[in-house]
Amino acid sequence: MKLTDAALIAAHEAGDTATLVALYARAADQVTGPERAFLLTQAHVFAMEIDHPEAPRLRAALIEMGCELPL
């Protein structure tokens, strides 16, 4: 998935945070390295915002990459 995907833009415009979590997380799973960290961060922030059940797993993945701190 590319960040220009229509679904992602539509979710941003609609403020559909749960969908943003899903789209960014799915995109992160398809890449590696800094790009994965970027996408995981996006997913994690939106997940935290809505207390999404995926938030802890996303944070743990970022911590494992050395990109985030434990709560």
């Binding site: 922030v45 935290m48 915002e49 990109c67 985030e68 709560l71």
Partner: protein, 384 residues
């Protein structure tokens, strides 16, 4: 700014004059009093019921300062400056429920409802969410001291006032019998009045019973002027009490339940106190009200009124009648406070003189204002 002469205000009541006109009309004095009177004391900000559930957040502009009233995930009411520690962006623009964290809409720094900074996305570059020098433990939301009493969220913006329980120890002791669960009457027990006067005029009018027979003539039928007494606590609060409170009774004889365990005197007594600076409280055997004076400018004040009851389930019709009755009383006061506001635009007014017998509580408020403002003016000089 030419500073007003407050020495005459602090004279004995028989010789004192009221506050000079600029204290009601000047933008500069309004700003001065914001710091000297509203920020340095325990001021009323809102009702706790404004954020009824965990996560509820409400932005409030308090004398030009953007604040965020929130009930955190543990149910505690908190007040923060409504700004991100990154670029000072306003965090919450509309009342809403925070489901997880407070995410800044600019660069998405995230804060818990307790104010802890929990994420700083991309702060170290794309995908890197930490950076040297960005210590999250030092960058939480800036909390304002707050305390809930009588259903009111009180704040001390300066952060250096005595603890609320200490500052208002005698008031808490005076009304200790009412320190029991209060139930807000709901949507029909709150109303707001937009009044064209300086906030202090509303305090001054509320404090004294002198005006009752003229402005609230319906009270004359059962509550005469001589049934009232002054309440005076220098430097903290003043007001009036009555010995002849009469309960509201519905068409079918229904009344509100009483607060539990009150002394016999409350069978017919009621008390009305202005807790300086801006909270007007009234206690009765069967209900309590809080009126918050939210200053909107030198000549404009928002009056937010809330009524509370001893139990959760009270008669809705009776509640509506009670709210309407109080609304009528407070509306009856509007023409006098607005009239006094207009009167303060003539340089011929010299602050006025007080009735030594009847204006004690109002003079006490003026004395407090003058003392606090003078202390504030002296502070920078003392530091030099």
């Amino acid at each position: 700014m030419t500073q007003s002469d407050l020495s005459l205000v602090r004279q004995n009541i028989s010789a004192a004059k009221g506050l000079p006109n600029p204290h009601y009309t000047s933008e500069a004095v309004f700003a001065e009093e914001r710091d000297a009177l509203l920020a340095s004391e325990w001021a009323g900000l809102a009702a706790a019921v404004d954020v009824p559930a965990p996560g509820d957040a409400r932005p409030i502009d308090f004398v030009g300062i953007p604040l965020l009233l929130i009930r955190d995930k543990d149910g505690q009411v908190r007040v923060f400056h409504n700004i991100c520690r990154h670029r000072g962006m306003i965090l919450v623009s509309e009342p809403r429920r925070i489901e997880g964290v407070i995410r800044c809409p600019y660069h998405s720094w995230c804060y818990s409802t307790q104010g802890r900074l929990v994420s700083t996305p991309h702060v170290g570059g794309p995908g890197q969410n930490t950076a040297q020098g960005i210590e999250r433990s030092e960058l939480g939301l800036i909390e304002v001291r707050s305390h809930v009493w009588m259903g009111v969220v009180w704040i001390n913006l300066s952060g250096d006032a005595a603890a609320f329980e200490d500052h208002h120890a005698d008031l808490l002791a005076r009304w200790a019998e009412f320190d029991q669960p209060l139930y807000h009457g709901g949507a029909d027990s709150r109303f707001t009045l937009d009044v064209g006067c300086n906030w202090k005029l509303a305090v001054e009018n509320y404090c004294e019973s002198y005006h009752l027979p003229w402005v609230h003539p319906s009270l004359n039928t059962y509550s005469r002027l001589e049934d009232h007494y002054h309440i005076e606590a220098r430097g903290r609060y003043s007001g009036q009490g009555t010995h002849v409170y009469r309960q509201l009774t519905g068409d079918d004889g229904q009344q509100f339940p009483d607060f539990a365990g009150l002394a016999d005197k409350w069978d017919t007594a009621a008390e009305y106190i202005a807790a300086y600076p801006n909270v007007l409280l009234g206690v009765h055997r069967d209900h309590i009200f809080a009126l918050l004076l939210i200053p909107k400018g030198p000549g404009r004040t928002e009056e937010q009124v809330h009524l509370f009851y001893p139990t959760e389930d009270t008669d809705p019709d009776l509640r509506a009648r009670n709210a309407e009755q109080w609304k009528q009383v407070f509306e009856e006061d509007i023409f006098v406070v607005e009239g006094m506001q207009r009167g303060r635009h003539t340089p011929a007014f010299d602050g006025g003189r007080f009735s030594p017998a009847m204006d004690g509580p109002t003079h006490l408020f003026h004395d407090w204002v003058a003392t606090r403002v003078q202390t504030h003016r002296n502070a920078p000089q003392a530091a030099e």
